[in-house]
Symmetry: C2
Subunit: 157 residues, 2 copies
DNA sequence: TTCCGTGCAAATGATTTGCAGGACT
DNA sequence: AGTCCTGCAAATCATTTGCACGGAA
């Protein structure tokens, strides 16, 4: 019952939509990605799997996956959006290395709490938030190595 | 010595650039704006002042003003960037009403401190950060009024 | 003079959309 | 049958850029 493909199908049905071959292939491929990825990168991965799905369909399906809450969408000021599998109840924010583009995740309960307090003080009803820290990561600073082309790296300690 | 136009001129000279009529008009106009504004909105304001400056120049000058640290640039997921006069030492983050587009500012010293701690734990050297809280503001929730077209509102309590 | 800067229009580039033929239910 | 979908190419849209002419130092 927590199979993502089923979750997606349930979501689609609910919206009067169908789980097509393309949509299913895309979800299954997406589930294998353990990093942050762009629409373009997903498109390339699908071609490598000999799935000739159009870019339009990739974009359309990514939107659906975000709506279905299977994916989270992020704008890290890279000129294109990045996606990652939603860790439903484990919300996290990001540290983005502007040099090598590595992306790290962090979660700080106290920050979240203070943030809610700030919103409350402004009579503001939070829908979601983004907290991004840009700078340079330790590896880049010591090795000067840039992130290889292709998938944006996501490293966890 | 803290006259923004002079600051800009100093910055330009330093870069081997000139303070042209257009650039000066743009800075002076920008200085009068007390809200967040887009390139397009600035362009329109300039036309109203009978300054026929091209959009290309507006964009080019905005970039320079950001480099000169006279303006801060924000991406609030609105499809276009917003700018605001840099409050040099008074950094702040934002609450963005997704319904009426009002923008509120907040500063929480404790959050900033915790954030530095998070970065330190990751051996991450911070360059800058963005902390945006999206949701609905009190006014929108009670009146249902949408933000009027034109300049994005910035309200402070 | 000598670059630097400007306006204009064309180029970008990620994402979206209109259409016409296909595919689920 | 009746929708929903897909692929393709064209359209968007904010922003950028190439060029030839105009302007500060």
């Amino acid at each position: 019952m927590s199979d993502p493909v089923e979750t997606f199908q349930r979501f689609l049905r609910q919206q009067g939509l169908k789980l097509t071959t393309q949509r299913e292939r895309i979800v299954r491929r997406v589930l294998k990605i353990k990093k942050h990825f762009s629409a373009e990168e997903l498109f390339d991965l699908l071609r490598k799997d000999r799935s000739r799905i159009s870019k339009a369909t990739v974009y359309r399906t990514l939107s659906l996956l975000v709506e279905a809450r299977l994916l989270d969408e992020h704008d890290f000021e890279l000129g294109h959006k990045l996606y990652e599998q939603s860790q439903r109840d484990e919300h996290h924010d990001h540290l983005i290395c502007v040099a090598c583009r590595a992306i790290f995740e962090f979660h700080n309960h106290e920050i979240e709490r203070l943030q809610e307090q700030v919103a409350a003080e402004h009579d503001f009803a939070i829908t979601y938030h983004t907290h991004q820290i840009f700078g340079t990561c330790e590896e880049y600073r010591t090795t000067g190595k840039l992130c290889p082309r292709g998938l944006a790296r996501t490293r966890r300690d």
